[in-house]
């Protein structure tokens, strides 16, 4: 396949006028370019969200600190949560799905290329709108700029009475827009996986990444829509004087919680399942073994998707539900640990007896396995309603979900960046810098989030802008902030590595990892049409069959 000529590469595009290049990127409907746009957009917002997190950590480094005012602190945690979930984590995962799913299933593009571009720009403008609130949020009342109602924006904080100005409007509109974009992309992924597979690519032979993204897309369709509906209701309340969440007129604040968490909990799996997908591709390649228990992996994923739709109210144990509903949500939440546990054992079994190569992507995946396990264990602790009554809204919860999102999802995401960077850019990254990034980030992560559990257990609530000395929280907060600085340094190294390697890294070739899925048959970066001739697939590892015609996989499947 190396004879396929490149249609564009870095050297050639630099000679053309900048306006033309920009025009090409802005009007593109190519799934690979949109994927890269998604990823760049998300990385930008990751940096914004990271800066907000750093500001909060500096504020909390010692008791009675006055680095920022309480109002600014409220804005920081709201913007941090909203940015990271809607404008960093989801777009970056959609970006990878966009880039990889068509390549992996042997398609030339997504099913609906223009819907793809539409969805991207909806999400992008949602993000810009959120940050425009810093300029436009004041409204006529001079009542604060950026949204400050928390990322789940509980009623009645969001009502006109308590949120003057337009800051909450910016929040709800930007989330609404990004939701429309997400639904569009999800529909696109479903249609692509169902109807664009190349000859021989049956559902039983499809790479796990495609399977998992299909599940993720299904969850997005079912879970983001309730959020969209809830945002519409909030808009009706705020603009038309409706009473959905207005307790004065008989409305209910609790129903907003239900609607939000019907979205909010599946959302965790919308983020986690693509992360599992990266691990399921990277771990086999660097263990030099086929994935262990492929059908079970698919079944476990579907089970997670299914169960995750029925666990939302475990975010609401402290609201005061009936014993029956508490019991139901405790059990369903605990049940989700079963398929997740199956997955962890399958990854371990894939590594077992393999010849493991400790390259940067693999290091991140191994880190993911350990940290995701711990995150799951604290999840089981919190799923027990009485335990949750004690610790809900404490730093223990904050530590738990950052363990999931940073320790689990972000780690595999970094692995995915290093693993597919050669394919996307055509160049290798710097391995030593990659390893330095890994170790700095591991140290920073554990300093921050291991020790964050302790002030939570000691009773420190989340979202406080400062605290009294002498409660035993001081030392832990200091350590947590120091860890955040390590993480910041690691991210700078990561971005520098990507930027430098993009132009100066050694050429990667089409298949630097000796991998097995179809994206590695194309040139790096792949030509616009992906495959000159649509490939024909006979097993789960088509490249293995090409490289080992004497011992092809389809003899064993």
């Amino acid at each position: 396949m190396s004879t396929v000529p490149l249609t564009y590469d870095g050297a050639a595009s630099e000679r053309r006028p900048l306006g033309e290049i920009l025009h090409e990127w802005v009007t593109t409907v190519d799934h690979k370019r949109l994927g890269i746009l998604y990823i760049l957009f998300a990385l930008t917002f990751l940096v914004f969200g990271g800066i907000e997190a750093t500001i909060m950590r500096i504020q909390l480094i010692r008791p009675h600190n006055d680095f920022v005012s309480p109002e600014v602190f409220n804005r920081m945690f709201t913007m941090h949560g909203t940015t990271m979930i809607f404008f960093a984590a989801m777009p970056v995962l959609f970006g990878f799905a966009n880039y990889l799913v068509p390549l992996m299933i042997g398609a030339r593009d997504m099913a609906f290329p223009r819907l793809n571009a539409f969805s991207f720009w909806m999400s992008a403008f949602g993000g810009f709108l959120l940050y425009f609130s810093l300029l436009g949020g004041n409204g006529l009342y001079g009542a604060g700029s950026a949204p400050d109602v928390g990322w789940f924006a509980y009623a009645p904080l969001t009502s006109q009475t308590f949120s003057l100005g337009h800051s909450t409007d910016y929040w709800t509109l930007s989330v609404l827009l990004s939701g429309i974009g997400s639904i569009g992309t999800a529909i696109n992924i479903i249609a692509t996986v169902i109807s664009m597979r190349c000859p021989g690519m049956t559902l039983r032979r499809m790479p796990l990444l495609a399977w998992l993204n299909l599940t993720m897309a299904g969850l997005v369709v079912l879970a983001i829509s309730p959020l969209t509906a809830a945002q519409l209701m909030l808009l009706i309340d705020r603009y038309l004087g409706g009473h959905f969440f207005d307790t004065q007129a008989g409305g209910s604040a609790v129903i907003w919680m239900h609607f939000f968490w019907i979205f909010g909990h599946p959302e965790v799996y919308v983020l986690a399942i693509p992360a599992f997908a990266f691990a399921s591709e990277i771990i086999p390649v660097f263990s030099r073994k086929a994935i262990f228990g492929y059908p079970v992996m698919v079944a476990a994923t579907l089970a997670i998707g299914f169960i995750s739709m029925s666990v939302w109210a475990h975010h609401m144990f402290t609201v005061g539900m009936t014993a029956a509903s508490n019991g139901f949500f405790v059990l369903s939440t605990m049940a989700i640990a079963v398929p997740t546990g199956i997955k962890i054992f399958n990854w371990l079994a894939t590594m077992w007896g393999g010849r493991i190569q400790f390259r940067t992507p693999m290091l991140f995946c191994i880190g993911f396995l350990f940290q995701f396990l711990i995150a799951g264990l604290t999840g089981i602790m919190l799923s027990a309603a009485p335990f949750d009554w004690q610790l809900s809204n404490s730093y223990f919860v904050v530590a738990h979900f950052h363990y999931v999102i940073v320790g689990g999802i972000l780690f595999t995401l970094f692995g995915a960046f290093y693993y597919w960077f050669p394919k996307m850019s055509g160049r290798m990254y710097n391995e030593s810098l990659g390893k330095l990034h890994f170790w700095l980030f591991v140290i920073g992560f554990h300093l921050t989030f291991d020790f964050m559990h302790i002030p939570g257990l000691l009773g420190m609530p989340r979202r406080v802008y400062t605290y009294e000395p002498g409660r035993g929280w001081d030392l832990w907060n200091l350590i947590v902030t120091i860890g955040a600085l390590f993480q910041g340094a690691a991210i700078i190294i990561f971005l520098a590595n990507l930027l430098w390697s993009r132009w100066h890294g050694p050429a990667a070739g089409s298949d630097p990892w000796d991998a097995w899925t179809l994206e590695w048959t194309t040139a790096s970066p792949p030509p616009e049409y992906n495959f000159a001739v649509l490939p024909e697939v006979k097993s789960r590892r088509p490249l293995w069959d090409l490289k080992h015609p004497e011992d092809p996989d389809w003899h064993y499947e």
Partner: protein, 174 residues
């Protein structure tokens, strides 16, 4: 389209749940039993438009263009009657009964749910009208049957949502 329908269905589900949850929780009047009349005629119109669009699709598949245009036109008309009827109903509620979206919870949930559905009818009618215009200019041919089928799927969805809305708002809700 199935994906879009799933997403839309889940949006409607949330609004229906909110409607049911807030039934009878309005602090002040007017109450649904006092002001709502059951729109039997409009319901018949909308539901029969599902039938006419089905006939239109069948005609197009067999390449019979004139019956297609006829059935398509009747679909648009029936949809238009439904929309006009909703407008009259709202006018009655607003001017005669004094029920607005701000009055009470019933107003808020009623106008949101029925309005969301009416919005989908408007979108559907706009798309249907575009196809009708193409058909009148003779631009809709047999090979477009599959695309027209996608649109008709959406229309069936809008109609079936009405069945739910009708049962919840006009039968249970009163």
């Amino acid at each position: 389209m199935y994906g879009l329908i799933a997403a839309e269905a889940s949006i409607f589900t949330i609004f229906v749940v909110a409607y049911i949850f807030y039934l009878g929780k309005s602090a002040t009047g007017p109450q649904p039993s006092a002001v709502l009349r059951v729109p039997v005629f409009l319901t018949v119109c909308l539901l029969s438009s599902s039938l006419t669009i089905h006939f239109a699709g069948q005609s197009l598949k067999r390449g019979r263009l004139r019956p297609f245009t006829f059935w398509w036109l009747s679909t648009v008309l029936l949809g238009g009657i439904f929309l006009g009827g909703t407008a009259r109903e709202w006018r009655h509620l607003i001017y005669d009964e004094g029920l607005t979206i701000q009055s009470n919870l019933f107003g808020t949930t009623y106008y949101s749910l029925v309005g969301l559905h009416a919005f989908h009818v408007v979108v559907g009618l706009a798309a249907l009208t575009v196809v009708l215009a193409f058909a009148l200019y003779g631009r809709v041919q047999r090979e477009h049957a599959e695309r027209v089928e996608v649109l008709s799927m959406y229309w069936h969805f809008v109609d079936s949502v009405w069945v739910v809305v009708f049962i919840v708002v006009y039968l249970i809700g009163r």
